[in-house]
Symmetry: C2
Subunit: 425 residues, 2 copies
């Protein structure tokens, strides 16, 4: 790899222009590649991940040692670290994507016009996907697999701390791509990890069709701020769980604890709980959260229920803690809850707990978020849990795709018009 790096243009814009041009050519081939060939590439890549497991783990050990020497945080080192189980998870993930239904070629709709023209909308790949990520090396495999299976070429730019791991995983992916007779440029890894390459990707209009940032808030914010290429992402997951007066306490309490505490670092974790003043048993929910190790920050009414509740500041209602902290407010019914959500939600996921179907329907209809739930844990906000098989990310944007995005979200469509010589009058 080092040789290849040295031979490529060092100027970031020229590098990305070159990679983008090659990706565009590969995309033209991938668009017409049969499902079986794409699947075969991923199955062969999974095999390569397994047979090259030692080399990948050794490369990763080098990354981890450098990260430790550089004083990276324990959380970052955990995200960076591979082990045999994680490696097997990566290989199994490639096989799972290989087994997903291929959206490319699917006919979305078909009409016959009075003049005899037959119109079809048929799904086609988006083209070239740019993925910008941080320390998790498994994104190399996941994002590469989803891009390839949806017929797209991709340009992967991982974090510098994972560069040896990413190169090793990319080599295994390339083995799969080659085994299936697909072009090398189907999955490219940016060989340099300086920030200039990111900037060049974000402005590569015409060469990169969509950018997917995978990582922390500062990365996503920078990408959304600088990108001239469309971005598919979510910045925040300020997720609300509203416990209605008509909620069943036997459901509400475990839902609140699961939605907040199952995993606190995921974007679908609840950050604010809104409790209807009419709800019968608010205190046990607070107690259960506190006893599960959660810091509860409440408004005055919530503080009055339990001495262990800390006061919430104005800032708490706009906070994505991604930690064992929750803000809790007492509200006067569903409309007040929805007004709070409209003001503070990041339009990712919001949920209602109630046994009143009319209120559930009102909430599902009126709350304007990518995912709106009734009597379910917000932690289900995930492409795998939604049956999509995988996800490239969750979108809180309104254009193109919303919520969990997997293969279909990486496609667009074209109109096919079949005639028999029709002239327009």
């Amino acid at each position: 790899m080092t040789e290849a790096v040295a031979m490529r243009p060092t100027d970031a814009a020229a590098l990305i222009a070159d990679m983008g041009t090659r990706a565009r050519a590969a995309a033209a081939r991938l668009a017409g590649t049969p499902t079986a060939d794409k699947a075969r590439a991923l199955v062969e890549a999974a095999k390569a991940i397994r047979t090259q497991g030692e080399a990948i783990l050794a490369a990763n050990a080098g990354d981890v040692a450098r990260a430790q020497a550089n004083g990276l945080s324990a959380a970052m080192i955990d995200r960076l670290t591979l082990n045999p189980a994680r490696l097997e998870g990566m290989a199994a993930g490639l096989e799972a994507v290989a087994g997903l239904p291929d959206p490319v070629g699917e006919t979305i709709d078909e009409t016959r016009r009075p003049n005899g023209l037959i119109l079809q909308r048929v799904r086609v790949p988006l083209g070239v996907i740019g993925i910008i990520y941080e320390s998790r090396p498994n994104v190399t495999a996941d994002a590469g697999a989803l891009s390839l299976m949806s017929g797209n070429a991709c340009i992967l730019r991982g974090g510098s701390e994972a560069s040896a791991s990413n190169r090793a995983i990319h080599a295994a992916l390339l083995d799969g791509v080659r085994a299936a007779g697909l072009p090398d440029d189907a999955i490219q890894l940016v060989p340099v990890t300086d920030r200039a390459a990111v900037g060049a990707m974000l402005t590569a209009q015409g060469l990169i069709d969509i950018i997917v940032p995978r990582g922390g808030k500062s990365l996503v914010a920078r990408v959304q701020d600088e990108a001239r290429v469309p971005v598919l992402a979510h910045l925040d997951g300020i997720v609300h769980l509203y416990i209605d007066g008509a909620a069943d306490p036997a459901k509400a309490l475990p839902l609140a604890v699961n939605a907040k505490m199952r995993r606190t670092g995921v974007c679908g974790a609840t950050e604010t709980i809104l409790i209807d003043r009419a709800y019968a048993a608010p205190q046990p929910i607070l107690a259960a959260l506190i006893e599960a190790g959660c810091e509860v920050r409440g408004d005055g009414a919530i503080q009055a229920l339990d001495a262990r509740v800390k006061p919430a500041s104005d800032n708490d209602w706009d906070c994505e803690y991604l930690d064992s902290i929750v803000s809790v407010a007492m509200v006067d019914g569903i409309e007040a809850a929805m007004a709070h959500i409209a003001r503070h939600s990041s339009h990712h996921t919001d949920a209602i707990v109630t046994e009143d179907q009319a209120k559930a329907d009102r909430f599902l209809s009126a709350v304007d978020s990518a995912i709106v739930m009734h009597n379910a844990s917000t932690q289900f906000a995930d492409g795998g849990e939604f049956g999509l098989g995988a996800e490239i990310g969750i979108s809180t944007g309104r254009m193109h795709a919303r919520g969990p995005v997997a293969l279909e979200g990486l496609t667009t469509y074209k109109w096919l018009v079949r005639g028999s010589g029709q002239l327009r009058p």
Copy 2:
């Protein structure tokens, strides 16, 4: 209107921020407005257009007189001019949109997960649409109607040369909106026509969800260049008609003439004809075009067929003439034709004429344009002709919507998740 203008903030960014905030509030109401109420607003607006016809024509006459005094081109004055027939067309257009199927609330798909969760993707409006247009006052009615019927609020910014006409049409639309009990801010007209307001719209992220530019190439180019808000548009319509060796001359000749000459100023007009060297009767096509008043610019092989053919320069293959001019090249079969198209097409509409179904399928599958046609005139590239009832525009972008965009293209979706207390393990 003049008073209202004077009371509003004069600073363009503050003006658009204010209008955007009010549009956002209106959009929240429109998202839940029943189809019948939206349709009623448009039917009442059509009535108002008719009853206020004299006032609208008088306002328009003022605009036309100013345009003439300012020496605007005859083509621009034609686009600007209203008459009773065009006014009736506008009213009938509003009624037609009122009769279209409402995409909002439509369930795109529904799945039941093994854990009992029921997932639905349901169409919802995009939110706030910004429309930036030039001298055609009918866009005020068309774009306002499509936005409203799809449950979106809109902010209309028409050209200064049409400002009196636009205010008069907007007043009639507002009468309809009020008659149906919908908020005034559902359809707003920017009360100033300086360029700063356009700049403010293009950067109103969070307030305007999508910008649709309607007008000439310089407007669209500026919008695409400056916008930070997503843009739905096409810049060029460099449309190709490929006449294959297996084409039926009885179809190919009239298709070529219709595709080029029916109306030369529309984006679906053919600009380049590619003729397979194996095609039997190329000269009659050239002759028919020339006799229909078209200037034919050909490569060497085409020039050799007819002395009236002028030489094409390199630049001709990338030209959208929008005029009675066509560039014609001789190619060696379908693959050469597709290579030419891949290099020069603007990915708007490209067509093949052939009786060979395998070649037709190859072309439909491999040509990467928003619309790909077989044995049909490229002039059919139009939302109305596609049965969409109307169109807000044609998109050559790959994200969100491609080709003619009408009501469905102005929607997004949200995920509804219905549970019975499911916790994520």
